[in-house]
Amino acid sequence: MTQETLDPPVAEPAAAVPHAIVLGTPLLKLPEDLYIPPDALEIFLEAFEGPLDLLLYLIRRQNLDILDIPIAEITRQYVDYIELMSDLRLELAAEYLVMAAMLAEIKSRMLLPRPMEEEGDEEDPRAELVRRLQEYERFKQAAENLNNMPQLGRDIFEAMAAVPALDIERPQPQVELREILLALRDVMQRAANFTHHHVQLEPLSVRERMSIVLSAVRPDSYIDFTRLFDVQEGRMGVVVTLLAILELVKESLIELVQNEMYGPIYVKAAHHEHEPTAAEENP
């Protein structure tokens, strides 16, 4: 048996999984269900929030009654996963191992002969596991409910109106430059926590000049390339402007056009149909 066990049950309701459970005797083949192509295991596991989630899945997938989990089979399946993980040298979260130990313990306790009748008080060794699974499931559901609630910016939006210039002075927050730098440090630190990408920053002079160049060009008309330069600024200033222009071209924010070799170069903002740029500045 291979893939079909992992298909959505809706896909093949009849064929894939024999659902019936007769008082703890599951009418289905358990161990072979496990097959997952090795290179897919990692993705498979990422779909789960942890061992409880995985266990819930294994149990539900096979329509088992949680109050009567065939613990031996489930344990075996679970441990097979764990072995697969270590074969593949996936970094195995400790929680998965702890759960394996817990399952093994339950299993061993269930194998011990139980005195009849008089030990009615003794808890089913599965009870604690069941309790945890049920508790987890409640919050899994609660999380889903929460996610479906109206969210600001997704389902509902703040309604705001502009405030016209008032006679009374509105005090503005006072800010020290240091605070901005600290804020930047913090956000960069956070960004660095995301391991795959790095923030690329051009020298500030170039960044600043990019904004200046960008607001000087328009989407609907060309201006002469040379007008963007101010020779008074000297060599460094010209280099900064050139870098800014190249960066803007790279980001597709402006277009350079030269109609003939050695002819004049013209610049305009990258095309878009509506809204001239300049008009958008401060409402």
Binding site: D7, Q134, Q151
Partner: protein, 230 residues
């Protein structure tokens, strides 16, 4: 002498639209000079009337955790969302489960959250919930290590359009697992996994959607994560 209802409503409406945050009754009262200040009852009546007048409009007056605010009606969301190119945020299951535990079981420590979820809660999740100001440290448990106790904030209520925690959907009864259905995202993910890696086999072309993991927002250092079904 207080002012007439019409003028009162105008001022309240203007203030609610001008403010970037919800406004409490106290802050609304503070808009008025002493000799014109409305009583609490007058204020409430005016807000009530204002709310009713919004009925045929595109906006509504809503009381949330930190006060009254004007907001776009939910039913208009699909049009309004077109104002912005960006897609609204999606939060990972890990984040939402952590948040749900804090909301329903506050005050709660990180260890207690981990106990229920059966998995470590990454620092990143806690930090980002703190950063969003959805949760805060409300105290410390008096056990070794003095772990922080987390609770939700008014901003959490505001974000989820709630006036108080009472309005959260009640926590589900403990259920027999038979009644639990598998989250569709897992099925999708699995279907996709199988389709990608298994090669040819019988028709499991059920991998309708994008794989969940690709849609993921945040929680980079959480090993196991998948989106919530929307």
């Amino acid at each position: 002498m207080s002012m007439n209802l019409q003028q009162l409503k105008k001022i309240l409406e203007a203030a609610l639209f001008a403010s970037t945050q919800p406004l409490t009754l106290d802050r609304l009262t503070a808009l008025f000079a002493e000799d014109e200040a409305p009583s609490r009852d007058e204020l409430r009546a005016a807000l009530q009337a204002l709310g009713e007048e919004c009925e045929p409009r595109g906006i509504e007056l809503k009381e949330v955790g930190s006060g009254f605010r004007m907001q776009v009606k939910k039913e208009l969301g699909p049009w309004i969302a077109r104002l912005w190119e960006e897609k609204p945020p999606k939060y990972s299951r890990a984040t939402m489960e952590t948040l749900a535990l804090i909301a329903y079981k506050q005050p709660i420590t990180r260890a207690e959250i981990e106990d229920v979820r059966g998995v470590a809660v990454s620092s990143h999740i806690i930090k980002s919930l703190l950063e969003r100001e959805w949760i805060r440290v409300v105290g410390h448990r008096d056990v070794p290590g003095k772990p922080a106790l987390f609770g939700t904030t008014r901003a959490f209520l505001d974000y989820f359009n709630l006036k108080s925690l009472d309005e959260l959907p009640p926590l589900a009864e403990i259920r027999s697992l038979e009644d639990i259905t598998l989250p569709p995202d897992i099925e999708e993910t699995l279907a996709k996994v199988m389709a990608e890696h298994a090669g040819a086999d019988e028709g499991d072309d059920e991998s309708s959607e994008e794989i969940a993991a690709n849609d993921e927002v945040e929680d980079a250092d959480e090993p196991a994560s998948a989106k919530l079904p929307a």
